[in-house]
Subunit: 338 residues, 2 copies
C-alpha cells in the first residue's frame, strides 16, 4: 500500500508561525470517489495568504482547524481519474491540494480554483507564479487599480517576491518609473536586473520615509502594497496628488493581533492627495485569467517578463519553505518541489 | 472714515487652536482698485479646513501667516464695484473674504472660488452650506465615491454637521439605510428628525466598534468620513465586502502633529473587504456645481433636504465660532452673522 505523507496544522500560531505548529503524518493514499481525481503533487506553492488560513480570526475564506491537512495550492500529475475531463498524466494546478504528496480533489467543486489545466507554453510551476495567481494579481493591480501613465512613479513593496517582480515588470511595460522596496541589497540587485529603476532596502534605510522621498522625488503615483506595516506608512507619506494605492498583501502585519496593528493614520494624507486606496482579492478577478495570461505569456515570449523562484525539495520541507517565505528569507517565488 | 475690523492670526496654534491665537485689529476700510469690488460681509462660514490653513505644515492650499487676516469664506453685499460684472447691492459668495467686516476682492482672480452669485432661490447663507461647498462635498461623496444602492448601509460621521446632514439626506434619497455618528444625543435626535435611521453617540458608547456593529448588523457599505480618528477606526472594522470609504474630513486628528497621528492600520480590513478608500477635495469637483446645486435645490423644494445652522452674531465672535465648531459644540453649520 502506497503511503501519503501530509502536514497537518498542530496548533494555531500565536504571533509568527513556527515549525512546531505543523506535524507530518502518514496515511494510505486515498482512493478517488465518483467525479474525483487522484493527484501526485509535483510543486507546492507557498503564499502569505496561508498565514490567514491558520488563524481562528474571520477571513475571506474558511480556515484550517488544528488536526486538518494544511491548505495550499500546487501543481501535480493526475494518477487516477473518475472524472471525464481528466486522465492519468494530465498536469493540474489546484488551490485544493494541501501540503501532501497525494491529493484527491473534485474538479467540479470548489469553484474556479479547484482544478485548472497547466498551460504547456511555460514550465509547469509557472502556473503557481507568473502564469497563475501572482501573475493575475499583478496584472489586475496594474490595469484595474494603479493604471499608471507613462512617466508615473510606481512603488512596489516585496518587489522581488512572487507578485512584486511581475508587478514591477508590467509597470515598466506601461512606461512607468518603478521603485522597488525589499529587505536586502541582493534582492534589490535582482529587481534592477529585471528593469526596476531604483530600490530602497527597508531594513537598512535609517529613515524609511526619507528614503522613499529620495527615490521618488516627484512623489508616488501608484503604490502596489504587498506588505502593509511601516513600508505602507512610509510610502503613504510620499503619495503624489491623485495617487492610487492597491492594498494587495499584508505580510508585515499578518502575524499581529488586530489590537496591536497600529501605525500612522493615513486619512490626512489621503485627503491632501485625493488618493484612492482599494483592497484587492484576486479571486474577484478570476474571470479575467485568460486575458491576463495571454498578455503575460506574450511579454514572457518578448523577453519582458523574467521570474525568479526559490525552490526547496521534498514534502518534508513544506513548513520550512512556508516560514522562509513568511520571514522574507526567500528570493523570489517560494516553491516546494516534490 | 469708516473702519474695518478684522481678525489676524497672532500665532500658529500648537495642538488645538485657542482664542489667543487670534487678534482683532482695526483699519480703514480699503478702496477697491481696478477690477476689484468692495464687499460688506453679512455671513462668515466656519469650516474645519481653516485649521489646516493656520499650520506651518504643507497643505493643498497656501496658509495664513501670523500677522495676516484670517482666511475664510462668507456671503456679503457689494458696496462699491470697479468690475463690470458686479454692482452695488449684489450678493456675493466668496472664499476670499476673510474674517473681517469689509473685504476687497478681485472676482477674476483666485479661481472659481473667488466670487460666486448667491442664488435667489434660498436664504443667502445657504451659499455657505447646503447650496455651497458643503452641499457639493456631500453630493460628490455620495454620487462619485459612495454610490450606495438601495438598501445599502451608509455611515456618516459628524452627521449633524454642515456636510454630514446633507450627506445623510442624499443617502436616504438614494434608498440607503443611514446611520449617524455624532457627539451628543441631542445631535442624534436631530439626525433622526431629518431621516437618519439610527445613531451612535461616540462620546458615550462604551465600545465604539461594537456600537457601530450593533447599528450596522449587515456591515457598512459606504462610510462618509468627516472626522478621521477613532470613529474612522471603528467604522473600518465594520466594513462590508466591496465597501467604499470617502475620506472627506479629519477634524478629529487635524490638531495633532503627524507623528502623533496614530491609529489602527486599516490595510488588513481593506483587503478582506476589497474596500475602496478615496480622498475628496471639493475643489476638484467645482465644475459639477451646477449639476449638484440644481439637484440640491430640487430636493429642498420637495422637502427632502433640511438644514440646521448654528449662528453667532458680530465680527467679534469669529474666533469663538471657530473654536466652537472645532470642538464640536456647534449644532449644525457654524456661521457668523454680521
Amino acid at each position: 500500500m502506497t503511503m501519503n505523507r501530509n502536514w497537518v496544522l498542530d496548533s494555531y500560531p500565536e504571533g509568527a508561525a513556527r515549525a512546531e505548529n505543523f506535524r507530518l503524518v502518514e496515511n494510505p493514499v486515498p482512493e478517488p470517489g465518483p467525479g474525483q481525481i487522484l493527484i501526485r503533487t509535483r510543486w507546492l506553492s507557498m503564499d502569505p495568504y496561508m498565514r490567514g488560513r491558520i488563524s481562528p480570526a474571520k477571513n475571506y475564506t474558511a480556515g484550517v482547524h488544528p488536526g486538518e491537512t494544511m491548505h495550499g495550492g500546487g501543481v501535480g500529475e493526475v494518477v487516477a481519474s473518475n472524472h471525464p475531463g481528466w486522465q492519468a498524466g494530465d498536469l493540474v494546478e489546484s488551490m485544493n491540494l494541501g501540503w501532501q504528496e497525494y491529493a484527491v480533489i473534485a474538479p467540479d467543486q470548489g469553484g474556479t480554483a479547484a482544478a485548472n489545466r497547466v498551460l504547456a507554453d511555460a514550465p509547469p510551476q509557472a502556473a503557481l507564479s507568473w502564469l497563475g495567481m501572482p501573475g493575475l494579481t499583478a496584472y489586475i493591480g496594474l490595469f484595474e487599480i494603479g493604471r499608471p501613465k507613462p512617466g508615473d512613479t510606481v512603488v512596489v513593496s516585496a518587489a522581488s517576491g512572487a507578485v512584486g517582480q511581475i508587478a514591477g515588470q508590467i509597470a515598466k511595460l506601461m512606461g512607468a518609473r518603478v521603485v522597488a522596496v525589499a529587505s536586502s541589497d541582493d534582492k534589490l540587485d535582482y529587481c534592477r536586473s529585471i528593469g526596476f529603476d531604483a530600490g530602497v532596502n527597508y531594513r537598512t534605510a535609517p529613515d524609511l520615509t526619507a528614503a522613499i522621498a529620495d527615490a521618488c522625488p516627484e512623489g508616488v503615483d501608484f503604490f502596489f502594497d504587498n506588505t502593509g506595516g511601516p513600508i505602507h506608512d512610509a510610502v503613504l507619506a510620499n503619495l503624489a496628488n491623485f495617487a492610487r494605492v492597491a492594498i494587495v498583501g499584508r505580510i508585515a502585519v499578518i502575524d499581529k493581533p488586530a489590537s496591536e496593528d497600529i501605525g500612522l493614520r493615513s486619512s490626512a494624507r489621503l485627503v491632501v492627495t485625493r488618493a484612492t486606496v482599494q483592497g484587492l482579492v484576486v479571486f474577484d478577478w478570476w474571470h479575467r485569467r485568460n486575458e491576463a495570461f495571454a498578455r503575460l505569456l506574450k511579454w514572457h515570449r518578448q523577453g519582458h517578463l523574467q521570474f525568479r523562484e526559490d525552490i526547496l525539495d521534498g514534502i518534508e520541507s513544506a513548513p520550512e519553505a512556508f516560514l522562509r517565505m513568511m520571514s522574507g528569507r526567500n528570493h523570489g517565488k517560494q516553491l516546494v518541489r516534490l
